[in-house]
């Protein structure tokens, strides 16, 4: 049985039809055409599918598409302002915090959620906040540096 769902994605009203047992990740990728969120595991372990749902960071592979009714979804596609990259994106490039890039959208959304709640995180806080995101190529140091640099940049120091 498909169900009609009305939601907001990156500030735009979006309607879609989906199966009840279809995940938000599959809906975003296959029905809405937003392929930024990735499926690494499908079981909540890797964070590649991270999106922000009503202000809360979640794994979209563990959210049903129908749950998005009336809610606000933020994905990596909404980070940049047109061609102007978000500071996190700029710093990830400057610090070479990505190689294959599969994990990057998830890290960017997790880092965005972290910096909203904690604009001046310690290295340990960053590592804990990103513990739900796995990267198989870059290693975590460069990612942590990129987040630290963004935090400093966004605080204007």
């Amino acid at each position: 049985m498909t169900q009609l769902v009305n939601t907001q994605i990156n500030g735009d009203a979006v309607g879609f039809a989906c199966e009840i047992d279809e995940t938000l990740l599959d809906v975003l990728r296959n029905r809405v055409g937003l392929s930024g969120a990735k499926e690494g595991c499908g079981t909540g372990d890797c964070g590649a599918c991270s999106v922000i749902l009503d202000g809360t960071l979640v794994c979209s592979c563990l959210v049903l598409g129908v749950e998005a009714e009336g809610r606000k979804v933020e994905t990596v596609e909404g980070l940049s302002d047109g061609a102007d990259l978000h500071p996190l994106q700029t710093k990830f490039i400057e610090h070479a915090a990505l190689q294959c890039g599969i994990c990057t959208p998830g890290f960017l959304m997790a880092a965005k959620a972290l910096l909203k709640n904690n604009p001046d995180p310690t290295e340990e806080e960053i590592r804990y906040a990103l513990a739900g995101n796995l990267c198989r190529c870059t290693g975590y140091d460069k990612i942590v540096r990129a987040v630290q640099a963004t935090a400093a940049d966004m605080r204007g120091s």
């Binding site: 049985m1 169900q3 009840i20 047992d21 995940t23 499908g42 079981t43 909540g44 372990d45 964070g47 991270s50 749902l53 809360t56 960071l57 979640v58 794994c59 592979c61 563990l62 959210v63 049903l64 129908v66 749950e67 009714e69 997790a110 959620a113 972290l114 804990y128 906040a129 513990a131 739900g132 995101n133």
Partner: protein, 288 residues
Amino acid sequence: MVRYEAPQTTPEAIALLASAKGRVHILAGGTDLIVRMKGEYIEPDVIVDIKRIKSMQSIRKTAAGTSIGAAATCGSMGRHKALKKAWPGVVEAANLIGSDQIQGRCTIVGNLCNASPAADSIPALIAAGAQALVIGPKGERLLDVDKIPTGPGKNSLKKGEMVVSIELPARAPRSADAYLRFTPRTEMDIAVVSAAVNLTIDKKSVITEARVVLGAVAITAIRVPAAEAALIGNTLDEATLAAVAEACSAACNPINDKRGTVEYRTRVAGVLAKRAAQSAWARAGGKA
């Protein structure tokens, strides 16, 4: 054909649960349920999402203590200052579940009903003397939380029943709890052994009440009466700690797997219980 319902009120949810035909599953955070649906371990006919029920999202003070709604996320428990102050052990257990992403969705009621022997919040809730408010077709009942899990993945709830909230008792002065687990990684791992201790001390730091619970060393979390007896009437001296560790190791009946042998889990249970007792005692204001 699976059906999805997202009731706005508790009575609506109860009516749905009572009338729905087939395999009905309650959806809280979905961090267990959706994983099991995808693995095709379960095939629901009806999914009842309780997250739109406002009263179930709240954490509030009641005449009897604190009430945590079934849809309140573990992340929201960590942000609740009064809850953290009264029940630091329950909150640290809830906050150990998964990552930030999981914290944004998961609930202690889901953790309890999912009934994993290694579930983090269950030992802490049992040590706290928590009760679950259960509503079903026959009305309401308050159950001690240890009556809910009955074995790995199994709980005692009857058809049409749902947990509405977890009720934590009021706190006596000089009381505190603590929860510790052992995992190979610091985050995102399943407890190999865990221990929760909840105690009250008098003005001389003598323990007057104690509850000691172990996780992941039997098919459900277990209370250790011998360890509780060893604590009561004593301060936390070396002999008392040794007796707690010994009683806890003796109570273990763990599985043997690549993450921990029987001998290892048995030994670590004693060590963790000792450390959890020290942490709870210090939080309660205990002085040697």
